[in-house]
């Protein structure tokens, strides 16, 4: 017997295996970041004073724009495959990857400013939670880029043999990438604006 529903959806659940898997994984990710946001709230309400306007809002706004754009190109990459246009897929997936690189560069500039100014995790709980949460988010971005880079490069060979399965893979990778984007949408106001 072979494992069923690796490509086609099971009629009663409406999902293929990997898509259900990634949704469950994202549920656990919600709990992970949920616990960290809870930590943030607890530390902040317990602090006698909380630092304001310490972070670079324009750079973070730019980063938000970069990440949202990358979510759009990710959808376009998947849509291109649905329309059987592999060239366009390559372009959009490449753009998604580059946007990830751009995000990390901008984040790196921000980090280096703080570290050079002596503002490091041990300075106070604000920088501690800022570096921990954005750092963990950064790790998630890197993870997504590794997956996207693989599907842009060596992994895209599957398009020739199993196009449907490959399209599914891009959809699953896209769900994860949108989640990483979504986490940033929460991080940005929480640390930079509030």
């Amino acid at each position: 017997m072979e494992i069923p529903y690796t490509v086609n959806a099971r009629p009663d659940s409406g999902l293929f295996n990997a898509k259900m898997g990634v949704w469950l994984f994202l549920a656990s990710e919600v709990m992970l970041f949920g616990a960290l946001f809870t930590t943030y709230i607890l530390l902040r309400v317990g602090a006698p004073e909380w630092p304001h306007h310490e972070l670079n809002v324009p750079l973070a706004t730019l980063n938000t724009a970069v990440l949202i754009s990358s979510s759009i190109t990710m959808v376009m990459a998947w849509a291109s495959l649905m329309m059987k246009d592999f060239k366009k897929y390559k372009m959009y997936m490449g753009l998604t990857f580059l946007a990830g690189v751009g995000f990390l560069i901008i984040k790196g500039i921000e980090y280096s400013h703080h570290i050079l100014a002596g503002e490091i995790p041990s300075t106070n709980t604000f920088y501690a939670i800022y570096f921990t949460m954005t750092g963990l988010h950064g790790v998630h971005v890197i993870g997504g880029m590794i997956v996207n880079g693989y599907f842009w490069g060596p992994g895209s060979k599957m398009w020739k043999t199993e196009p449907e399965r490959f399209t599914n893979r891009i959809e699953v990778a896209g769900l994860y990438w949108h989640f990483v984007d979504l986490v940033w949408i929460f991080l940005f106001p929480v640390f930079y604006l509030l």
């Binding site: 017997m1 494992i3 659940s13 469950l24 994984f25 930590t39 530390l43 300075t123």
Partner: protein
């Protein structure tokens, strides 16, 4: 593939290729890096049994210190000759796969273990245990038993091996992920074990790792606590991969006709357990990352302002909150209690239905109780924290939810008890363990009620009563159910029955010893003896009347070890000499027994996809010539 244009030669080539594809994989792919859920299940099983044995050994060493505080541990002296004796035994039996070799290996292993642990100025100079080492043993006993022993055995081994067979699936939904989760678990275990050998030793702040103690004990990367955190991150990752795999497998790969209310109870237990693992573990992962930052990057997540350690102001920024750790920890660790108990209940349900030759009483109530239990387990965590000064309003909330969660537990236990009524019971070894589970878990559960009430908890908190309570749940509760499962599914896994006589000796010995170990703890706890005391309470006036129990418990623990050796011998003896079992030796109804051979086919489990026609426990149905109707066999109209 078979198009009409293919020539005969092409056909031959194609056949040869096909044949090559189906060739047996080599040793490494077959037994070590296998993606077959059955091999992975056995890997989980053997690894976790070794960890259980190791965790138990740590406890036996601790029990020496508790029974005879400050006296030299005599075993250390004999460890080296003991190990050499084992080598000689191995030599005599010629290193063949035989009982003699096995006993030799066990003796050598135990000798080397005690020698390594016992030697050294940091642990037991001249055989006398240092307090720091006692704390290490305590912290690692808890961690190893829960995260490396019981959960991997209950979920990783039984879930992996049995669940796909019971739902008629060819394998897990993601076989490579399954292999990855085993190896990530293995790495976590190696990190935990190697932490014993770094300077300063392993973690020593209890399995709960409460801050600020855990933050400041042997600080920095080369402290045992840091390794504990790294190990935990591996174990959590492994659980996450596993739980995603389990849920997808159950939802997507169940056989035709196997609707949710036709699931064997064990499958339901694994299903709910997986959700608990999936959603409760990430907050501990977050907490682990935060504590890692505290220890390595100098942050103060769990360190309050103005913390003084050994008369020195601790050089951190402060502003953190030690209670935060407790909240994040118990948000996992309370659902974890149900992760420990639910698969056990599932196993007991299977065995009771099979050996009473009756359907489980109240199957639907059982299922809804398990679901409700899983849901409630997320909102009871702070009953572990009544004494932290959270405030009475919050305590009242968690006290109420705790009382509510006892209802589904009682429903499950009642259903299993009532299932016995009117059945023609078969008292084989798995059934004995399953039957013992019921009163033992009953004692464990009922002794928990006074701990869940915030008033009586003031007296009982952090005493030996707590230890007695949760060990009754986990040791004669869960571990008995796991033993029952091993005796029950051993014929499916190996094709041979386990020895009944040795099994019964193992059962009665363990059953009596368990109660001599854990019941005195309840008595000591009520008398006010605190847990985690290095000397077992010698210096407390109020403890003097119950101190004699320390020796009773220790001797019972050591005697119990002998009965576990009988189990190990039985395991290996039956592997070679056990009576041959057919595909369905227990005359069971579920797909794991009725639609597969013993052991099941290496790839794909089933020769043809099974189809399910009715519920899981159709035993003794009137008007049928045999007293069980397999799930894949239609019932007579």
């Amino acid at each position: 593939m078979g198009t009409n244009n293919l020539t005969h030669t092409a056909h031959a080539v194609h056949h040869a290729e096909l044949h090559a594809h189906h060739e047996e994989p080599g040793f490494w792919r077959k037994y070590v890096f296998s993606t077959d859920h059955k091999v992975i299940g056995v890997q989980y099983g053997l690894t976790s049994l070794l960890f259980l044995l190791f965790g138990f050994t740590l406890m036996m060493v601790m029990r020496w210190q508790l029974a005879y505080p400050g006296e030299a541990f005599p075993v250390v002296k004999f460890a080296a000759p003991f190990a050499i004796l084992g080598l000689i035994v191995m030599l005599i039996s010629g290193f063949r796969l035989s009982l003699g070799t096995l006993i030799g290996v066990l003796i050598t292993g135990l000798g080397v273990l005690v020698y390594v642990l016992g030697k050294g100025e940091e642990r037991m100079p001249d055989g006398i245990m240092l307090p720091e080492f006692y704390n290490q043993l305590g912290a690692m006993h808890g961690t190893i038993m829960v995260f490396l022993g019981v959960v991997p055995l209950a979920v990783g081994a039984f879930g992996n091996y049995v669940m796909p067979l019971q739902i008629g699936a060819p394998d897990m939904a993601f076989p490579k992920l399954n292999m990855a989760s085993y190896w990530v678990y293995f790495c976590g275990g190696v990190i935990m074990l190697s932490s014993f050998f770094i300077p300063g030793g392993s973690a020593q702040s209890g399995w709960t790792s409460y801050a600020p103690l855990s933050d400041v004990t042997v600080p920095g990367f080369w402290g045992g606590q840091t390794w504990w955190l790294l190990g935990m991150i591996f174990l959590i990752t492994s659980s996450l991969l596993g739980s995603v795999n389990f849920i997808v497998t159950i939802m997507q790969l169940r056989a035709k006709g196997l609707s949710f209310m036709r699931f064997p109870f064990f499958v339901w237990a694994q299903f709910v357990t997986s959700f608990l693992l999936l959603l409760a573990f990430p907050p501990l992962e977050a907490a682990g990352v935060l504590q890692l930052m505290d220890r390595v990057a100098g942050t103060s997540f769990f360190l309050p302002s103005g913390l003084v350690v050994s008369g020195q102001v601790w050089p951190n920024s402060g502003g953190g909150n030690p209670l935060l750790w407790q909240h994040l920890f118990w948000f996992l660790a309370h659902p974890e209690v149900y992760v420990l108990i639910l698969p056990a209940m599932g196993i007991v349900g299977e065995i009771i239905a099979n050996n009473t030759r009756k359907p489980l009483w109240g199957y639907k109530s059982l299922v809804w109780a398990v679901i409700f239990l899983g849901f409630m387990s997320f909102i009871v965590w702070a009953h572990h924290m009544f004494l932290t000064g959270m405030g009475t309003a919050i305590s009242s909330f968690f006290q109420t939810t705790t009382m509510i969660i006892s209802i589904p537990s009682v429903i499950i236990l009642s259903c299993l008890f009532i299932s016995l009524y009117g059945g023609s019971l078969r008292f084989n070894t798995p059934m004995l363990f399953a039957l013992a589970f019921l009163p033992m878990f009953g004692i464990g559960g009922l002794t928990g009620l006074p701990l869940g009430l915030s008033a009586s908890d003031i007296h009982l908190h952090d005493t030996y009563y707590v230890i007695g309570h949760f060990h009754y749940v986990v040791a004669p509760g869960t571990i008995f159910a796991l033993f029952a499962g091993i005796y029950y599914w051993f014929p499916k896994i190996t094709g041979r029955m386990m020895n009944e006589k040795l099994g019964k000796v193992h059962f009665w010995g363990s059953f009596i010893c368990m109660n001599f170990i854990f019941f005195p703890m309840l008595i000591q706890g009520l008398a006010g003896v605190s847990r985690r005391l290095y000397d077992g309470g010698q210096q407390y006036a109020h403890a003097q009347g119950v101190l004699y129990l320390n020796e009773v418990m220790s001797v019972a623990a050591w005697v119990m070890a002998i009965f576990q050796l009988i189990f190990v011998i039985n395991l290996f003896l039956s592997l070679r000499r056990g009576e041959k079992a057919g595909s369905n030796p227990w005359e069971a109804t579920t797909l794991d027994w009725t639609a597969t051979t013993s052991p099941p086919l290496a790839h794909g489990n089933f020769a043809t996809a099974p189809e399910v026609y009715h519920g899981p426990y159709e035993y003794s149905v009137p008007g049928h010539d045999k007293d069980f109707i397999p799930q894949n066999e239609p019932m007579k109209a």
